[in-house]
Structure formats: C-alpha cells, structure tokens
C-alpha cells in the first residue's frame, strides 16, 4: 500500500513538470523566430512593384 501511494505520488508530481526552456535576453538582439520567405527580396520587390502598377495608380 505504501509503495502504491509513493508511485501514485511520483506520477502525479511528474505531471507538474514545467518546461524551463527560457530565452535569455541580450540587449538589442532579436532572439525570436526567424521569418523565412519563399522568395528572395528582389523577387518580392518585382512582384509587388507590378502589383502596385495594377491596383494603386491614379485613375
């Protein structure tokens, strides 16, 4: 009975585990997720310039 209580206690306490994976801050350095793009900046620039010409020029 004593062992059963201990096993139950250990299992229940193990559920209280908290992930301690913290990001250590360094002033002026972005440490968040990296924003990846499927196209290069030059490709995006060309596509968006064409789009601007289609929808935002003066009437």
């Amino acid at each position: 009975m004593k062992y059963l209580f201990l096993v139950t206690l250990m299992l229940s306490l193990s559920a209280c585990y908290e992930d301690a994976d913290v990001t250590m801050h360094q002033a002026g350095i972005y440490k968040g997720k990296v924003d990846n793009h499927s196209q290069t900046a030059e490709q995006r620039e060309a596509i968006l310039a064409e789009r601007f010409g289609q929808v935002q020029t003066d009437r």
């Binding site: 990001t23 990846n36 793009h37 995006r44 935002q56 003066d58």
Partner: protein
C-alpha cells in the same frame, strides 16, 4: 531593395473608414483592437482633413528601440514586425510610438492587457507563411501572395498608398505637381468636373 511605406494623401481621403473595415475583416482583428483608424481634423468644417493612420513601419522604429525583450525585427522589405511569443505586453511600445499603432487585446477573466498587436503591412509574422499559427496570431500574409496591403488596395479614392517608398513618393509627387496647390476633394471644380 524595396522599403515598404504607407502614405495617406489628405487631399483625397473622404473619411469613409473602408480601410479600417477592410483591415479588421481581412485579419479577423478582435473587438477593441484597431490596427488602422481614420483621424479627422476640423471635423465638419469646410476644408476638413482626414488621414488614415496605422503603423508607419518606421525605418528607425522607436517601438523597436524601447522594447525591453527585443521582440521586434525589420524584414528585408522594411516592414517592422514582432514575435508575439516573446512579447510580454508591457506597453512601452505604445508610449514610444508617435502614431498610436500598438494595440493590446484584453485577455483572461479580468481583462488584463494581452500581447501587443499592430499593423503588419499584411506581411504576417515570423511563423511559417500561410500557416494556421500565422493567421491566428498576425493575420493574413498578403505580401507572400504577391499582394499589397488590402487597406490601400481597396481605397476608393486612392488616397491611401502602400508600396515601395520610392514608387509611392514618385506617384505622390506627380499628384502634387498636377494639383498645383488646388484642393482635389472640395469645391465646385470637383463637383462639376471642371479640372
């Protein structure tokens, strides 16, 4: 390399608030959060001026400078974005921003201040493009679809412009020269198409 910028032509803005509605609808922005708003000066007086204001994606962004956890980053396109997983909702960026762009949704049972939300220039966030997480946290990523911000694209008077700063400024410069100091949105000339 392109540096994306907004520009609102106050001579053309008719305060229809369609940009505000389009933004809220496109990104499913929650109640109480306005990524974009229309500000009117001398409301109701002849010569009143309105401009549509949101995050202006500053080149030297003050929000980025004051953030205590450095959750802001600037993309290659010059768009200022932030990682909501790092944001602690402290509110420093709100005090630093001259445009009042940062917004904070109420969270939890007691309505405490949540993580900061702002205009993303329809560029999503650091999550994977077109992923569910990106849509939920930051809204749609129109730039990855080859589109420009919806607020500007659907502006009926083409008052709000969004795109590469050089292209936008060139268009606006041509407008100013064409107007020659006259107003476009007020007066008989506009009503009877004399121009």
């Amino acid at each position: 390399m392109a540096k994306m910028k907004f520009l609102c032509d106050e001579e053309r803005c008719i305060e229809c608030n369609a940009c505000v509605t389009a933004c809220k609808n496109e990104h499913e922005v929650p109640w109480g959060v306005n990524r974009r708003r229309v500000v009117t000066l001398d409301d109701g007086q002849p010569g009143e001026k309105s401009i549509s204001v949101a995050c202006m994606h500053c080149t030297d962004a003050p929000c980025q400078a004051v953030c205590p956890v450095d959750c802001f980053y600037t993309t290659e396109d010059g768009v200022v974005l932030h990682d909501k997983d790092m944001c602690i909702g402290c509110g420093y960026c709100f005090y630093a921003c001259p445009f009042g762009a940062p917004q904070y949704p109420q969270e939890g049972a007691f309505g405490s201040r949540g993580k900061m939300d702002k205009c993303t220039f329809c560029a999503g966030g650091p999550e994977e493009d077109h992923s569910h997480e990106e849509l939920e946290k930051y809204g749609r990523n129109r730039l990855a679809e080859g589109k420009l911000p919806l607020c500007a694209e659907m502006c009926s008077t083409k008052s709000l412009l969004a795109g590469d700063g050089d292209v936008v400024s060139e268009l606006f410069r041509n407008r100013v020269v064409r107007r020659q100091g006259r107003q476009e949105a007020w007066g008989w000339d506009t009503a009877y198409n004399v121009k």
